[in-house]
């Protein structure tokens, strides 16, 4: 059952610890993991990420790895003929991450939705840090002239006054978890 994965791991030079970790999985889990890793040619780092998340989800939710990977979402990605191999791998990891980090993924999704709703010029980019660590919104402008910069700043200034941007900052600050409320300025 482990053969396709082991052949692939050997060909890619995976470390022994990663192989051992795979072999410690139950037979059904090995089959389910191999069915993603081998055809999508996942790198060792991707495999380690996936194993971490799979094990953590299974421990948290009390499901088996093969049960988790047999969900419709994964079958749909793997069976989507429009997607290339690397896109499928990206989508599989995104789906796993969404299950592994449900609240963080939700906040990130809500922020992304509001940034899209601003319909910013492609030369203006708004991003938040990975995992929301730091609690800031980064704005990047790309201008080739003073006039272009002035125009982009004017549009950005209008965007900054919208409810979407206010909500983005609220989401960054509290993740939709509670109303902002800070201490009284002393320890």
């Amino acid at each position: 059952m482990a053969r396709p994965f082991l052949d692939y791991a050997r060909a890619k030079g995976f470390r022994e610890t990663t192989v051992k970790r795979f072999l410690s999985l139950e037979e059904g889990a090995q089959r389910a993991v191999a069915a993603i890793v081998v055809p999508l040619k996942a790198s060792e780092n991707h495999v380690r990420d996936m194993l971490d998340w799979l094990e953590e989800i299974c421990l948290r939710d009390g499901v088996a790895i093969d049960e988790l990977l047999s969900r419709e979402a994964f079958a749909a990605i793997m069976g989507d003929a429009r997607l290339g191999r690397s896109d499928k791998l990206k989508r599989v990891k995104e789906e796993l991450r969404r299950i592994r980090f449900p609240r963080l993924s939700w906040v990130e999704g809500e922020i992304a939705r509001r940034i899209r709703a601003l319909k910013l010029d492609p030369r203006t980019e708004m991003t938040v840090p990975k995992g929301l660590e730091g609690g800031w919104l980064a704005v990047q402008l790309r201008a080739r002239s003073q006039d272009e910069l002035k125009r982009l700043l004017a549009v950005l200034s209008e965007a900054a006054a919208t409810g979407e941007v206010r909500e983005i900052f609220t989401l960054i600050a509290n993740g939709g978890l509670e109303e902002p409320q800070t201490g009284n300025g002393t320890i």
């Binding site: 660590e133 609690g135 960054i172 509290n174 993740g175 800070t182 201490g183 300025g185 002393t186 320890i187």
Partner: protein, 363 residues
Amino acid sequence: MEPFRPSRVFVERGCEASPILRNLRRALADVPFEFFERGAFSFARAGNGADSFGNAKRSLFLTRHKGEFLKKCPGSEGQVCCNYFVINFASNCPMDCSYCYLQEYLAENPALKVFANIDDLIAEADELLSRHRRFFFRIGTGEITDSLALEPYIGFCRELIPFFARQPNVLLELKTKSDCVENLLDLDPNERIVVSWSMNPERVVAADEHRTASLEERIWAARRCQEAGYKLGFHFDPMIEYPGWEEDYRSMVEKIFAAVDFRRVAWLSMGVLRQTPGLRRAMRERFPQTRLLTGEQVFCPDGKFRYFQPLRVAMYRKMLGWIRALAPLPPVYLCMESRAVWEQVFGFVPPCEKELGNQLAHF
């Protein structure tokens, strides 16, 4: 709390006159003692087998410490620091918390060691405190061991407390998850000693703080220390997020302040669960069933995983609210947190570590 029972005590030649050896012999009369020459034994070999870190906790070494006893707490890179000093009188810990950072920090040197040369330790502390009389120090002994878990066997505090109680410019913190306070109760702390507990709800204690005192035992021990004249501290660290954590933590805060007088509490701290990637690997290996690694933790700029920022800010704010409702006066600080999180939780950031240290020292 489960008593500590080493299978063997190894004593370095030259430590025969130490009061620690005398105490160990008395407390562990039925445990075999073996003597060894320094250099003839590699501490790295103290732990062996599949779980070398865990196995190392089964033997106790009494040895001389060659380096400095007193160090500045290293804190965590880029995080707000509280200007704390640490005394390492022992290395490793008889308890076995699944999240313990020593699993990584002491992985190559896991021997459970107690240092016999207390006189050198006291001389070093005396020199530092005398040289800087205008600076007020906060010093703790619970950095790479538990301050009190070995106390019934080694009697270290009976040597240390009288010295620190006489110093005008220091607070000595004894930080523990044990209830081993018997040795402290007839000593005079003279307002210079803070006995503090790392606190978690019983659910966390039972699942992940192996061989420690229960929540009730810790609270009872704190009360006894307070009655004996000690200042107290409580560290809500590591705070763990799980379904129902709010009720458990709120109830724990209520139990604590129903039992102790908040006016005698020197400080309180909060810090969420955090791990380096190396510690995560060690935890997976040693405690594969722990649920601590299933939280929504992300990799932070200082190289540690923590709950994502809005989640932990929400945890801190809730906890601060429960604390402030019952203990409005003692200072509360965050351990190993960023300026951004301080700002969100307290509405300010300490201007510098000395300032924060001073505020904590002079409450």
